[in-house]
Amino acid sequence: MPKKAPEELTWRDLEIGCAVTEPGSASEYKSGDWRSRQPIWDFTKCIKCGLCYTYCPDAAVNQRDDGYFEANLYYCKGCSICTQECPTTAIHMIEEGE
């Protein structure tokens, strides 16, 4: 049964006191839509230090199985903090749609 969009919720759909009982339900929200640029990693430079992961305000940097990092494009807002904090300048931004 598909969940209702927020704007479709009726007064009967609301939990008592408007309690939100599904923790972390915000993870449905695609904050990546805000983006106008996205970060790209150069794995020849990436030393897998994890600072990009550490400093991402949106927890939108994932570590791959091979240890390198990449943006989680569902959430990444393109703030570019990762490009600034990477000690080997392994990350640069490209325009969305490039």
Partner: protein, 391 residues
Amino acid sequence: MANRIGMEVSFAVAEAAKLARSEVVAAYPITPQTHIVEKLAELVAEGELDAEYIPVESEHSAMSACLGSSAVGARTFTATAGQGLELMHEVLFVASSSRLPIVMAVANRAISGPLNVWGDHSDVMAARDCGWIQIFTENGQEAFDLTLCAFRIAEDHRVLFPIMVHLDGFHLSHMVESLYPLEQSEVDAFLPPYKYPFALDPAKPVTLGAYGPPFIYTEAKKAQEVALRSTKEVILEVWREFNRRFGRQYSPVETYATEGADTLLLTMGSFSETASVAIDRLRKQGEKVGQIRLRLWRPFPFEELYQAVRTAKVVIVLDRSISVGGPGGPVCSEVKSALYHLKERPQIVSFVGGLGGRDISVADFENIVRKGQKLAAQGVGEHYEMIGLRE
């Protein structure tokens, strides 16, 4: 069954909170509620009540702390009066919208200014819209009984609303009255333990107090309104059970000596008892008068009020507060509003008195009824009479 005793009504309220096994009391002292919170502090200190007593630094924090303790599932009680009720005003709305079953005794007191610590109903009338269940008591027994009932009603999963139990400041709070208390075992049988469905617990994380933009606020309010109105059924149910167990029946609208009455006097709170004596005297003189005592203030008892005024030609409403610059007495304006749509409705006359602790004597009440009948005959429009005003 305990024997009848004499007890200051404030202490009776504290005793009820104790017998209910309140778990958190977060309160700030303010005349004339102080004896309630002092007694509770004493009970906790003596180990008679196993509760956490939080001596908060203001009433706003008192009600806020109550939100927190109720939300983790602790049975929560507090008390306030007058300015205190005003200071916690915004928090009251949140207690209701969050559906937290906090029980609060209010020793009704006049609102400043000028500063006046004595009793009237202006504090409660300023909190009409906050979404709490509100119940008026008229004597010590009622203050005791209805505080106990409040826990049972509030925590019922079909209710989950906070409840104010109103008792007149000084006129009740500081009076020693005779009453029948209850044994702990009787209260334990009547009051099941509190289980809040969304208790804050890492085992089952919930988010309480998410914000509601325009697309959803209306729906949130509708849900709250429907829920509050539906609590009346549970209130009646609990009062019926209380009567079954303990032999005292409470109703949303109490009527007194209304047989054959053309004129009804509507009162709330402890002055109702004084008014009853006046009604008795008038009836002895052959007057066709009776009395309505409004007990359930919120949710407003529309059906019971219609029933009570069914055969009356005149309803005289006593208010113990004024909506300054507005429709005079708040209770009167609500009664008028409630009866407006009826095809046949009585004349309604508004009296305002008992402000800031001023007494209304039995003789005063007799005059109110007579004057009220006269005014009804003349037609009064928006006019309201102030009782005992020195001009």
